[in-house]
């Protein structure tokens, strides 16, 4: 019986541990988005031929990750310290940050819906999506080197 309780306790603990690392979770989202963005930058720059399947896949990956951004769960109080480059401004201006995330989600969803069939459409959608990167990092991210 004791062993069973211990096992449950351990299981519960590891479950919370995997849930309670918002810094790692949000970094994983950012990394995945960066990778997907990078995969189609050559197309956006005209250095690689337009590939409708590749850009659709990239937008799908970006969308899947960005829609996972639950501000309350990923940026709880207390997660501003530690190995993070999140700016304290997020917690000082939670409403502004939430609005920035909501805009990002809407722009990415619109890019998926547009289902770019040619280069100009893709470039416009890609521009609208990636504008969010700098806009958010300008205010809500700090560099730690």
């Amino acid at each position: 019986m004791k062993k069973l309780i211990l096992a449950f306790a351990l299981a519960a603990l590891s479950a919370t541990a995997s849930l309670a690392d918002p810094i790692a979770d949000r970094q994983a989202i950012m990394k995945a988005v960066g990778k997907a963005v990078g995969s189609v930058v050559p197309i956006a720059k005209g250095e690689a031929p337009f590939d409708a399947a590749a850009v659709a896949a990239a937008f799908a990956t970006i969308n899947e990750n960005v829609q996972k951004m639950d501000v309350a769960a990923l940026f709880p109080a207390g997660s501003e310290t530690g190995d993070t480059t999140a700016s304290p401004k997020i917690w000082e201006d939670m409403a502004g940050f939430q609005a920035a995330v909501d805009k990002y989600k809407a722009d990415v969803a619109a890019a998926v819906a547009a289902n770019s069939a040619d280069l100009p459409t893709f470039q416009a959608q890609f521009g609208a999506v990636t504008k969010n990167c700098g806009a958010c990092h300008e205010v809500y991210r700090i560099k730690k080197g």
Binding site: G38, T130, K143, K144
Partner: protein
């Protein structure tokens, strides 16, 4: 004996005062040389405007696209010495600089001296702009003349004593105002020379990317090695080839960052660099490449800021 000593002391005090007065006097450009500068070209001046990044501080914070040409000021630049408020430099004759002639403009940009003959604080990066060609400043002046007049006065700087005494900036200039090139690059190509001009002059990259000493002078021995963010949190990256810097980046990656803000692993730059990208995306492809070539040619330094603690 005592009276003699006292006389010597008084003499030395007066001499010291005169030396201080002499050293800290605002020094302007030679009016004859200035009058020889040909009238500027506003089209070329637009390129200079984006290289020099005027809009980053002098457009209203949060401005986008065409709004960035309205130079009403308003950005607050926090520093260890106090808070600086970027003033209105629009063409408004009352609140901005609409009434300035070219010599007034050139003395502000190239010497950090106001039309009233006072020192500007080096938060206005004239220590870099001093390396600009007078012809570029004339072009910039011609372009800025085409920009709109916007009414509005910004608050004064919030600086504690002794930093609120403008005259003392003459001492800062005596120590740190050096309009000659920062580094010597042997056998520099034309492209690297152009990059050097852009980075050390109008681009004023060193103002943030080079660490400063206790009185705000740049540590030129760690040129572009990165620095503690003067606004408090985080760092400004090392952009030399040294450890922690951009040694592994391709030249083309450095150039393309200045256009689209993406690092080689498709992170996007943030903080004040976002405004720099907004400016440099308007600069020519050749000039962005020249900056990249220069950054690859300069001495490599390890990070100019202390290792960051990951937990605090």
């Amino acid at each position: 004996m005592i009276t003699k000593l006292a006389k010597v002391a008084v003499f030395l005090a007066i001499l010291g005062g005169l030396v201080f007065w002499w050293i800290t006097r605002p020094q302007t450009l030679d009016p004859i040389e200035l009058s020889a500068v040909a009238a500027g070209d506003p089209v070329k001046g637009e390129a200079v405007f984006w290289q020099a990044g005027c809009a980053a501080c002098h457009a209203a914070p949060g401005s986008k696209d065409a709004e960035r040409l309205k130079l009403v000021g308003g950005l607050v630049l926090k520093s260890p010495f106090g808070d600086f408020h970027a003033p209105n430099i629009s063409m408004d004759t009352k609140d901005g600089i609409g009434s300035w002639d070219f010599p007034a403009f050139a003395n502000a940009v190239l010497r950090g001296v106001s039309p009233k003959g006072e020192h500007y604080y080096p938060a206005f990066p004239y220590a870099s702009y001093a390396r600009m060609k007078p012809s570029d400043v004339a072009d910039l002046y011609a372009f800025m003349k085409t920009l709109p007049a916007v009414a509005g006065v910004q608050p004064g700087h919030e600086l504690p004593f002794p930093f609120n005494i403008r005259r003392s900036l003459g001492g800062w200039k005596f120590l740190f105002f050096k309009p000659n090139p920062v580094i010597e690059i042997a056998n520099a190509s034309e492209q690297v020379k152009r990059g050097q001009y852009l980075v050390e002059g109008p681009g004023h990259c060193g103002e943030c990317h080079t660490p400063r000493n206790l009185v705000g002078g740049p540590k030129l021995g760690q040129w572009l090695a990165g620095a503690q963010n003067p606004e408090g949190k985080g760092v400004i990256p090392n952009i030399t080839g040294g450890e922690g810097g951009v040694g592994e980046w391709q030249e083309s990656e450095l150039a393309s960052l200045l256009k689209d803000g993406f690092t080689p692993d498709f992170d996007s730059v943030g903080g004040s660099m976002t405004a720099v990208i907004a400016n440099w995306s308007h600069v020519s492809e050749e000039d962005r490449a020249a900056v990249a070539a220069y950054l690859k040619a300069i001495p490599a330094h390890p990070n100019g800021y202390p290792a960051q603690t990951t937990t605090k």
